[in-house]
């Protein structure tokens, strides 16, 4: 998804030791992608960078951020990358059977960026990251994964190090654009993008969620289903029975599925077939119904 700006490795980056900052945008909101951005430059360029008025993206206005991002794109002394994690992925990872928590996802994304930049041949010497979780543990994790690189993990790194501020602008602008140009997977009527800030407390966001909920499908894929904010909206949703769940339950055992035998197949004879069984077999009914496994129901829930 990253519209790679630095597809061709900048020449200076392979020769001089470089600094890199990593920051994220859109960790908290209930909708839209989470974006990890990084920015790197030669160590010798760091002083110049400090004069470019990069600040924490949250303190800047949207236009200012866009402007800075454009200027950063044309600056040949700066390289950057983004990793966009779409809300569908976030929901899936956080809700699947072996759950991955948001910190884990964040760590993996950051490490993915470091890996990507290293693979491009950039001579990374120092990496500055805004912390997620415990800074010291995070630092050890990163150092183990990438020995030889000095990692500085700090709270509020985006306001302390210009290179992280730059990364935060990259991330924030990418997220804003992704959200602005969001194309819905869904084709329901009356969908709109008045999402507000996306933060769970924002009344606009709440209203948007209320407008876009569906009794069967929940929300559009823009929404991170794994957020606690979503749960109350599903209070009166339709209950769905997954036929595959029964199979799943068995499959976890010894890795192979076992089938539950019924008593009737073990010599227990003489009982009337329950009406439900006759119905679901479709015996004696029109072919049309049999072929489609359609059954008679007396109760609708």
């Amino acid at each position: 998804m990253a519209d790679a700006a630095a597809a061709t490795t900048l020449e200076w980056a392979t020769k001089e030791p470089c600094l890199m900052g990593i920051d994220e945008a859109g960790r908290g909101p209930v909708l839209g992608p989470m974006v990890y951005g990084c920015m790197y430059c030669a160590r010798s360029y760091n002083d110049t960078l400090a004069t470019l008025k990069f600040a924490d993206s949250k303190t800047l206005k949207e236009e200012q951020r866009e402007e800075l991002f454009e200027s950063l794109k044309v600056n040949s002394s700066i390289g950057w990358e983004v990793d966009v994690i779409c809300p569908k992925d976030l929901s899936a990872k956080m809700l699947k059977r072996s759950k991955v928590n948001l910190n884990e996802i964040s760590h993996n994304s950051a490490m993915g960026l470091v890996r990507k930049v290293l693979d491009m041949g950039v001579l990374l010497a120092e990496v500055y990251i805004d912390t997620v979780g415990d800074p010291e543990k995070y630092r050890i994790k990163l150092t183990e994964k990438f020995p030889g690189i000095k990692f500085v993990v700090a709270k509020k790194a985006d306001s302390l190090y210009p290179v992280v501020s730059g990364a935060s602008i990259v991330a924030k602008v990418t997220r804003d654009r992704a959200l602005r140009n969001w194309v819905f997977d869904e084709t329901a009527l009356n969908m709109h993008m008045k999402t507000g800030s996306g933060y769970p407390g924002d009344p606009d966001t709440k209203q948007w969620l209320e407008d876009h909920k569906h009794p069967v499908f929940g929300f559009p894929t823009l929404v991170r289903f794994s957020w606690g904010t979503c749960t109350p909206f599903f209070k009166d949703a339709v209950e769905v029975t997954w036929e595959s769940d029964d199979v799943d339950e068995d499959a976890t055992n010894n890795g192979r599925a076992k089938r539950q035998v019924k008593l009737s197949s073990l010599g227990f004879t003489g009982f009337k077939r329950k009406t439900e069984e006759i119905e679901s077999s479709g015996k004696g009914r029109c072919k049309f119904f049999q072929a489609r496994n359609l059954e008679l129901v007396r109760k609708f829930q």
Binding site: E249, N253, L263, L266, F268
Partner: protein, 263 residues
């Protein structure tokens, strides 16, 4: 006219608690020989058979065979109103659509009548095939309950294998696996703590723990449980009810997906 007087009222309470999780509605059949019930769970995987012989009742009068359909949860609700030492009398008139439970306190100073509506349940008696079992395990019921409970915190199914070594209960799940082996153990002074294994040939079968756990609700009825196993047959988990009869649970095993059991 039906009148059954059971001095040990708590027994009936325990029976109800043991089966109401498995079956919601069932017919109680009364004949000259006793008070019985046979019912399958809704998925036709487990069957419960209860017998309380006429001799076990202080007074037993059943003029003609009678089948009474009851909702077991409702029946349990009523029986819960009886004290543990109360004498319970079950009464029904011919052709009536209600049954009356009468609770008498031991000192005869309080008598309560609970009348419950009967229901029409469409069911037929199952023929349970008579068979020789390959292995019969008798063990303390509390021990068996404990094993089922422990294993169900790890897996969904239990493999019960009987070998010369003893009886092995094993399970495995996402977090790991567990094996519990019980060896033959005959304590002369404490027969209720004995574990006795009669084995014709080794047998190993897999069952859903959910059902096993619900069977063990009958543990309060008897110190010992008898588990009879044969390949290609449902397991029988039997709790004897002292001097009166038994409660038996039959459970169909789980088999490998590809192997098909002959009906």
């Amino acid at each position: 006219m039906l009148e059954l007087r059971l001095v040990q009222g708590s027994l009936l309470k325990k029976v109800l608690e043991a089966i109401r999780e498995l079956v919601t509605d069932a017919n109680f059949d009364c004949s000259g020989t006793g008070f019985s019930l046979q019912a399958m769970d809704s998925s036709h995987v487990a069957l419960v058979a209860l017998l309380l012989r006429a001799e076990g009742f202080e007074h037993y009068r059943c003029d003609r065979n009678l089948s009474m359909g009851m909702n077991l949860n409702n029946m349990a609700k009523m029986l819960r109103c009886a004290g543990n030492d109360d004498i319970i009398t079950i009464k029904a008139d011919d052709g009536s659509d209600t049954v009356t439970f009468m609770f008498e306190s031991p000192k005869q100073d309080k008598i309560a009548d609970f009348e419950m509506k009967l229901m029409d349940i469409d069911s037929e008696h199952l023929g349970i095939p008579d068979s020789e079992y390959q292995a019969i395990v008798r063990m303390p019921s509390a021990e068996f309950m404990r094993i089922c409970k422990d294993l169900s915190s790890i897996g969904d199914t239990v493999v019960i294998s009987v070998t010369k070594e003893g009886v092995k209960f094993s399970t495995s799940g996402e977090i790991g696996s567990a094996n519990i082996v019980c060896r033959q153990n005959q304590t002369v002074d404490k027969p209720e703590e004995a574990t006795i294994i009669e084995m014709q040939e080794p047998v190993s079968l897999t069952f859903a723990l959910r059902y096993m756990n619900s069977f063990t609700k009958a543990s309060s009825l008897s110190d010992q449980v008898t588990i009879s196993l044969s390949s290609e047959l449902p397991v029988v988990v039997e709790y004897k009810i002292a001097e009166m009869g038994y409660i038996r649970f039959y459970l169909a095993p789980k088999i490998e997906e590809d192997e098909e059991m002959k009906p």
